[in-house]
């Protein structure tokens, strides 16, 4: 019988700790499939964040580093500068990337570090139990915004791709979602393009993936996907915010 699907080699053969309905697992698989397809697992170094994906170092089969909270782009910078021929990616959540690690993210992007940032945006701190994230939506109820996020006192959500797209060092900034098969496939193409650009030395690449957190959103997995479509997508429109190759072609 023909094999139509198998677990990517770049994923280890262990069960993950992710909650039911969480989309981390899908994104892990997509990254691993891309590493397989590009044949780069052996020269790839991944950097795990602090947050729900902290154990990513156990799930990816390439060499892995567990970074301090928010510092993954700096750690990745150190690896890439030491080993320019390696393929380096960070895998970060919204608190890690857009709150405590904002400076590291912005400056790695501004320097045009040849790294790939996989950014999981689920609008909440998952690991610590559902606190307000820098990407929590206006009015969103969380443990630390129990009356709903009040933008007057708690500020506005950060649109990371839009913000980073203004930087010359960024080769790709694309926002995706894994809520439908079609979107999953598009996300995989974006991740593959990001790694390809890195290998070609084009600059910093970031793929933001809108993700669900049924546990901390207090929703069933299906309801969570609906909530993502109804609430996150309007605020965080999917799309390509920067693509160096397209700019070259158009220019």
């Amino acid at each position: 019988m023909a094999v139509v699907f198998e677990k990517p080699h770049a994923l280890t053969n262990v069960p993950t700790h992710y909650c039911p309905g969480c989309t981390h697992g899908i994104v892990h698989r997509l990254v691993a499939q891309v590493l397989d397809e590009l044949g780069v697992e052996g020269r790839t170094v991944g950097v795990a964040p602090v947050g729900c994906a902290v154990f990513a170092y156990n799930y990816f089969n390439c060499d892995m580093i567990q970074s301090p909270h928010g510092r993954a782009p700096a750690v990745a910078t150190g690896v890439k500068r030491a080993l320019p021929e390696s393929v380096v990616f960070t895998y970060q959540g919204d608190g890690d990337l857009a709150a405590i690690g904002t400076a590291e993210t912005v400056h790695a992007a501004a320097r045009g570090e040849n790294i790939t940032i996989i950014f999981i945006n689920n609008a909440i701190y998952g690991m610590t139990g559902g606190q307000m994230a820098p990407t929590s939506l206006p009015g969103q109820v969380t443990q630390t915004s129990p009356y709903g996020r009040d933008v007057k006192t708690q500020g506005h959500p950060i649109r990371v791709c839009e913000m980073l797209s203004s930087l010359d060092g960024v080769a790709l900034a694309q926002r995706c979602s894994v809520d439908t098969v079609k979107n999953v496939n598009a996300t995989k193409q974006a991740i593959k393009k990001a790694f390809q650009y890195q290998i070609e030395g084009k600059g910093c690449t970031i793929v933001e993936v809108l993700s669900t957190c049924p546990t901390n959103w207090g929703l069933e997995p299906n309801e969570a996907l609906d909530w993502l479509r109804e609430n996150m997508m309007p605020y965080y429109p999917l799309g390509v915010y920067k693509d160096a190759a397209e700019e070259e072609n158009n220019g």
């Binding site: 052996g42 060499d63 301090p68 750690v75 150190g78 080993l83 400076a103």
Partner: protein, 354 residues
């Protein structure tokens, strides 16, 4: 033998690191260590290395963490307030068993403090450069030549023990010019790092650099293993210099810049007929306890001299263990004690005996 040239302390530290095989420097500007970064900025591109001015000290030390994980010799340098910012990264480096070199050209604190020389980061360097149970190697040069010599040793021991090492200098040593002999390095023998995350090349299992252990017993075991290495380092690498201590009644204990001042004071005391000597710790961690304990058998009194309110004196008292009185003299905030001031203290202590 290499040639003898006149060099500033900060530049000598940089050149020594390059000689030791370091090609990856990550820093952030701060006085009074700026010449070190400037030197690296000039040299590294010509050597095919990395000089990267990071967005912060926090980022710089994490870049060091990344480069150290990749298995290369790497370093950062800063001064007191910047070193505080690095403490998060140092704790992770220690918890991940990563070797690297950190240079602290100390200035006065706390807070923004001042920019004049100080030794007020002794506690930070030797007791608590970050959260958790850990130690780092700490070396205290007192001349520009010693800065050169200790950098290589620091890298070697960091690699051997898989732990961060620090050169604890100060603004005076960093800014001072002295003739130095740069040793000729024919071939570096660098330790293999099979643990490095440098890509498994499909020829081994994946390596993981990590400091997270969810089971308390597992975490405890890693810490116990690390402390066993610390014990080994303590047994083998206590480095010091003894000057006129053999027959000394009064032993001045001082490191770095304050040891230079104390040496003059000891010599002047000898001219006055006072049997004074100088004990100079070169490793601050591991602190040279054993020799100091021995000296407590022959000396009558100890005087710790520091450019702080008294930090190393704690370790002197622990080493002497109550066998003899240990007094303290210090100036702080960037004020440098004079040999005359130290001599005055020695005379006071000697007077008590007569």
């Amino acid at each position: 033998m290499g040639e003898k040239i006149l060099m500033k302390g900060n530049e000598a530290l940089a050149e020594a690191a390059i000689l030791a095989g370091c090609r990856h420097f990550f820093g952030y500007p701060i006085t009074p260590q700026t010449e070190l970064a400037a030197y690296m900025a000039k040299r590294m591109p010509k050597l095919g290395g990395t000089f990267l001015q990071a967005e912060s000290e926090v980022a710089a030390i994490n870049m060091v963490l990344g480069a150290a994980s990749a298995g290369v010799r790497t370093m950062t340098s800063s001064s007191s307030p910047g070193v505080s910012l690095k403490s998060e990264g140092v704790s992770y480096l220690a918890g991940s068993d990563l070797p690297c070199l950190i240079i602290n050209v100390q200035r006065g604190g706390p807070g923004l403090g001042g920019i004049q020389p100080s030794q007020a980061d002794y506690w930070q360097a030797t007791k608590a450069l970050g959260h958790g149970d850990f130690q780092i190697f700490v070396f205290a040069p007192s001349t520009v030549q010693e800065m050169v010599d200790l950098v290589n040793q620091a890298f070697d021991l960091a690699d051997e023990y898989r732990m961060p090492a620090m050169i604890l200098a100060d603004g005076m040593l960093g800014q001072m010019m002295e003739p130095v002999e740069i040793p000729e390095v024919s071939e570096l023998k660098l330790k293999d790092k099979p643990w490095a995350t440098n890509g498994h090349k499909n020829s081994r299992e994946h390596n993981i650099i990590n400091s997270l252990y969810m089971q308390p017993e597992d975490l405890e075991q890693t810490i116990r293993d690390r402390f066993a290495r610390y014990d080994d380092a303590k047994a083998k690498h206590q480095v010091f210099e003894s000057y006129l201590t053999e027959d000394a009644d009064i032993v001045v204990v001082a490191y770095g810049a304050s040891s230079r001042i104390s040496r003059s004071a000891v010599e002047q005391a000898r001219e006055l007929g006072i049997k004074a000597g100088l004990f100079r710790p070169i490793t601050l961690w591991p602190f040279p306890n054993d020799e100091l304990y021995k000296l407590a058998g022959s000396a009558k009194k100890f005087l710790a001299v520091e450019m702080s309110m008294g930090q190393m004196v704690d370790d002197v008292r622990l080493a002497v263990n109550g066998r003899k009185p240990v007094e303290f003299f210090g100036r702080t905030g960037g004020v440098i004690p004079t040999p005359a001031e130290v001599l005055e203290q020695i005379k006071k202590l000697a007077g008590g005996d007569r």
